[in-house]
Chain length 394, copies 2
């Protein structure tokens, strides 16, 4: 028996384990220091009340003969697919529930969706990047081209003349950079995809953080996108579902490949290799998409955005260049004094007892940059930024 040799090509990422080791070593030597973590990419506020009540009631149902639910549809219950379509409608995008596929999260779908695409396709991936895009393609042996995201393009790379690709990854608001594409920019990407017979895999996991009404929160706000784009979204960041696991993928009916609706292949993949999301979780997801649920989730997002504001205000006052922080939970800052990402990590840990994430861990263009996250406790965020502001710049 032979293993998939592509797995040997994967690069090991030591980013988060190195961070953990460095923090542990520092704390061991300095047990009384109050170390604040602004590195995490995970939510911290509890689930909203309406969702808790819906899941509690679904749990009770599962204990009764009448309310028990066995296998559900792999693509999700109609009640949830309709609720998601309703959510899109409130923001002006019309989708049929049949175009929506419920899953256990955007990460799974982003990786699993590749299953239905040929390994002969060339993939275009921004650098810096959420590592799943790269690793899932390396596992399949696809050819990867990188596009540079950098200070010049404000970490929003645009299509380039002569760069051919079949599959394009876009993530907006971006993880790790917090940068958000404008309407005109996404329009150029849709035009690129349509004229190159390419497909856009649009990661909209952070869409709920967008506050400015002019910024596109879905690729389907752009004309023609339904013919060339699949959108991946999740309740992880929208509703704090990182440990509750529910996402959804939109495969529009108009997206036709080689004469067949792509959704037909995705449905076949999901019915073969997936068995749907827990009934209890789908009821919780339905609840957060009600008017009351959306209101409660917005309050949580406002809390995180307040934190992001505290971080970005401090950086602005310090004259530090950054992206994100306004329509995103992430702030992507340039390391001061020409420090490398890891130099700044060590500097912050030792001088301010603040932990962030070195940008170089997300790709070569991340070198010299640093990610701060707004998912922490407000008092801690304030304290951390006060400490950073007081640092004598190197």
């Amino acid at each position: 028996m032979k293993i998939n040799a592509n797995y040997r090509q994967l690069e090991n990422s030591y980013l988060f384990s190195t961070i953990a080791k460095k923090v542990a070593a520092y704390k061991k030597e300095n047990p009384h220091k109050d170390v604040i973590r602004l590195g995490i990419g995970d939510v911290t506020l509890p689930l909203c009340d309406v969702s808790i009540r819906a899941m509690a009631s679904a749990v009770e149902e599962m204990g009764t003969v009448k309310g028990f639910h066995g296998y559900g549809p792999e693509q999700g219950y109609d009640f949830l697919r309709s609720a998601i379509a309703g959510y899109y409608q409130t923001k002006g995008v019309s989708l049929d529930p049949d175009e929506i596929f419920v899953s256990d999260g955007a990460k799974s779908d982003l990786a699993n969706f590749l299953d239905i695409l040929s390994v002969d396709n060339t993939v275009l991936i921004p650098d810096p990047v959420y590592p799943v895009y790269v690793d899932s393609n390396v596992m399949a042996g696809r050819r990867i081209r990188y596009m540079d995201a950098n200070q010049e393009n404000r970490f929003l790379p645009m299509p380039e003349e002569g760069v051919k690709a079949d599959i394009v990854y876009l993530c907006s608001p971006n993880n790790p950079t917090g940068a958000v594409y404008g309407r005109e920019q996404l329009k150029q990407w849709v035009e690129y995809a349509l004229s190159n017979d390419a497909i856009i895999l649009f990661d909209a996991a952070y869409e709920a953080f967008i506050q400015e009404p002019d910024l596109p929160w879905s690729i389907y706000g752009i004309e023609g996108a339904k013919k060339c784009a699949v959108e991946f979204c999740s309740l992880s960041k929208t509703a704090g579902f990182t440990g509750t696991r529910c996402g959804y993928t939109v495969v529009p009916r108009e997206l036709i490949c080689e004469g067949t609706a792509l959704s037909k292949f995705w449905l076949r993949r999901q019915t073969t290799k997936f068995n749907g999301v827990a009934y209890i979780v789908q009821r919780g997801a339905e609840a957060v998409l009600t008017e009351e649920g959306r209101k409660q989730c917005k309050e949580n997002i406002a809390y995180y955005l307040d934190n992001a504001g505290i971080i970005s205000d401090t950086l602005e006052k310090m004259g530090i260049w950054f992206t994100g922080g306004k329509n995103s939970p992430y702030i992507w800052m340039k390391c001061p004094g020409g420090m490398s990402s890891w130099e700044y990590f060590d500097y912050l840990l030792h001088q301010a007892n603040v932990v962030g994430t070195p940008g170089s861990g997300f790709g070569k263009n991340g070198e010299g940059f640093f990610r701060l996250s707004s998912f922490g406790d407000k008092e801690n965020v304030k304290k951390a930024m006060e400490r950073i502001a007081k640092l004598t710049r190197p």
Copy 2:
């Protein structure tokens, strides 16, 4: 952009949709007939109380700052991995929690596990078969060899001289045939795998139905199996989790491929393409593995096995050949009077108003056979079997 051409090679299965259409048509013409379904492969009894209470409490936790859980480990929480190891220990198999990977179900894992194995491997699959084994390999373009399961070998095919394969699928107790391998038979399969450098993918989803103490309920009861077998299991049938979604896969430390522990690749696959099972569900799963939980689940399984006994007793009295029904929820019967699977389906629907599953839907060797399931209501099972017993044999 090109799609994965292997998807074009998939055969469409119309088994369950044809059944649904035929039943609907019959009911439309005979609205007052009481049609009983013995075709379903899904549990019907509610979740046991201890699991409901654990999930209700986990839901409450998720609504509090202190009890909230965000991202969990992709391979499952330690509390659940330890509980699964404990469950194996009660049956005499020692596993380290690190060898256990929690997932959203055996179907997902059985399909996704192929991701880490080379597409150049040859696969050996029994016929008749649970269709996921076939389809997930067709999607990857692997060469499939079939082994005949039939009346002569009591639907338990054994290794054959000269038949080389790299990946072998075994499912015991079997879906769809209900047949269960004995210890000596599994020993031969383990020897085959070890001497052919093959891996056994052992589907143990129905292990909880095994009552006879001499029958192996895990492949790891066989010496040497940890060197050549991965075991897939699930709480779907053990604890009625078909709509709650929790399974687990065992990749023993001793299973080395090309010099590397296979578990290392599986962990990489899961951390890249999966984000773990909901905290709430993992707490429910932990509860069913406690002593009290196991007791409550056994009561449900006893109920289904009683149904299976009613079915098999009737068939025995009628002199009809069958497998299963004793250590399995399924009864795989020979169609009487030389009828084909679909002929018998129509005959039963029209003459007895009973719905079963035509064996031909599971592969060519299923032709002339028929699957009855014990997951229904006891009174209905009794009624159905009384009707079948009264039929004048064709």
